[in-house]
């Protein structure tokens, strides 16, 4: 929900998604180009984070909260790369440390580029972008339905939890477990019923193929894409010169 919140509330909400996608692609490329020199890789990641926070006005706290799980896994992975276990116990070798630094900075850069994209672009815009990029319709249909039903079931889950709690369903551990089981069973049934209802709703509106929607309008899409292209190129060149 944090990503959703930021995607709709940031300053660059109205910028064409293809422009943001192009810049994110430039960010990922720059992260790969710069990764041979960890300091340059860190610089790319920092620059992308600064653009997201400073340019698109995404709250720094929200940014950190969204990035935290990925950063945690990245730290664990880097540590396991840097440290090796042999007869003498844990040892950090120079080669291992360098490899960990390269992988970690490259991942940080790629993470920052993806965070830029998802924190500034609503998923419906991203799906429209993927449609323009000729992603298979069936994948897009699944994305559309999953995205919409996520909120429907989040609301249903909340209602069920409240109803269970109101009838002492969460009083102790055994009742909590029982309530959770009942909730899972009920939710499964609801998923099936809702999917049937959505199928009927699609038929009622004359659908007999892929789910098609009109994309959002972006009157300055060309200008946005041009600016994003220049910025992406500058980022890659900067990463190249710093390696």
């Amino acid at each position: 929900m944090l990503i959703e919140q930021s995607a709709y509330a940031n300053r660059w909400r109205g910028v064409a998604p293809q422009a943001k996608g192009l810049f994110a692609l430039g960010g990922v490329t720059a992260a790969f180009v710069a990764a041979a020199t960890p300091a340059a890789g860190l610089g790319v990641a920092a620059l992308l984070a600064a653009v997201t926070i400073g340019g698109a006005r995404v709250s720094p706290l929200l940014y950190l909260r969204v990035a935290a799980p990925a950063l945690f896994f990245l730290a664990i992975s880097a540590l396991s790369l840097a440290v090796s276990v042999d007869g003498g116990g844990l040892q950090a070798t120079a080669a291992g440390t360098h490899q960990a630094a390269v992988v970690a900075t490259r991942s940080l850069g790629a993470l920052a580029a993806l965070l830029f994209l998802v924190l500034t672009t609503p998923l419906s815009d991203l799906i429209a972008l993927l449609r323009r990029l000729r992603t298979p319709e069936v994948l897009l249909d699944i994305m559309v339905l999953c995205y919409r039903t996520l909120f429907v079931f989040a609301a249903a889950l909340q209602d069920m939890r409240a109803a269970q709690a109101a009838r002492l369903g969460h009083l102790d551990r055994s009742r909590l477990l029982r309530s959770l089981g009942q909730m899972a069973a009920h939710l499964t049934l609801q998923v099936w019923q809702r999917s049937h209802a959505l199928h009927l709703a699609a038929l009622a509106r004359n659908n007999d193929g892929p789910l098609r929607f009109l994309g959002s309008r972006h009157p300055h899409a060309r200008r946005d894409a041009g600016l994003a292209g220049v910025a992406a190129l500058a980022l890659v060149l900067l990463a190249w010169s710093g390696r």
Binding site: S124, V144, R148, V152, A197, L198, A204, R205, N207, L214
Partner: protein, 279 residues
Amino acid sequence: MSVPLLQLEDVHYRYPDGSAGLAGCSLSVSRGSRNALIGANGSGKTTLFQHCNGLLRPATGRVHYAGTPVDYGRAGLRALRSKVGLVFQNPDRQLFSASVREDVSFGPLNLGLSDATVAARVEAALQAVGMDDLAHKPVQNLSFGQKKRVCIAGVLAMEPELLVLDEPMAGLDQAMQEELLAVLDGLHRRGMTILLATHDIHFAYRWADRIHLMAAGRCCASFDAPALAGHEAELAAIGLRLPSVIGLERQLRQRGLLRGAPPIHSCSALLAQLQQEDC
């Protein structure tokens, strides 16, 4: 007499699990009319609506649209569904896309219209339901009433001749009901035929031209709304009473306190009439 826009003749339908849907249901809807379908839960209202749109096919009996039997082939259903718009009771069961504008565009795009035509229809439909300011909003951030209006816009954008709404007032507070009513009145003034299900006999009496009563899968009575007072027994059979304004009007007339032309459809109209006669 003109040909009804929609006509069901002795339609029977049973769900695959064996539960009864419709049992000899006959109903007629005239072009340009406002119709209220009243019945208890489980009386078959939703099943009937799904027959109007061709989502369900009668086991026996016939459905006619504009005098022609419904063709259940692909092209026939496509034609029927472009003329009969169905708004479901629960908006979360109808809305596909997480964006208001996108969802409204779903139906017209399915009609094979160009993007420019669809964009124009989406704008017009959102304007008709008063949601043009919220077109860029994600659906999940809308209130229940606003979601209902998006559902109606999604069907209006297909420019149907007959709008079928399954309990549109359910779950709406008084203010939202008034707003929705204003939307429906606007659509009716533009010539759209409306058929809606409701439990509210007061609303049906006040709003509809024709009232249809439904019980046990059958349409047990259809009459002009002003004639409701003569159908007390049929109403009682489905657990409803006459609107209080009818009794009040009767009493006032018997006591010579009211002289204007009958019938009066709401307490506010009755009050206005009394005040006018006082002057």
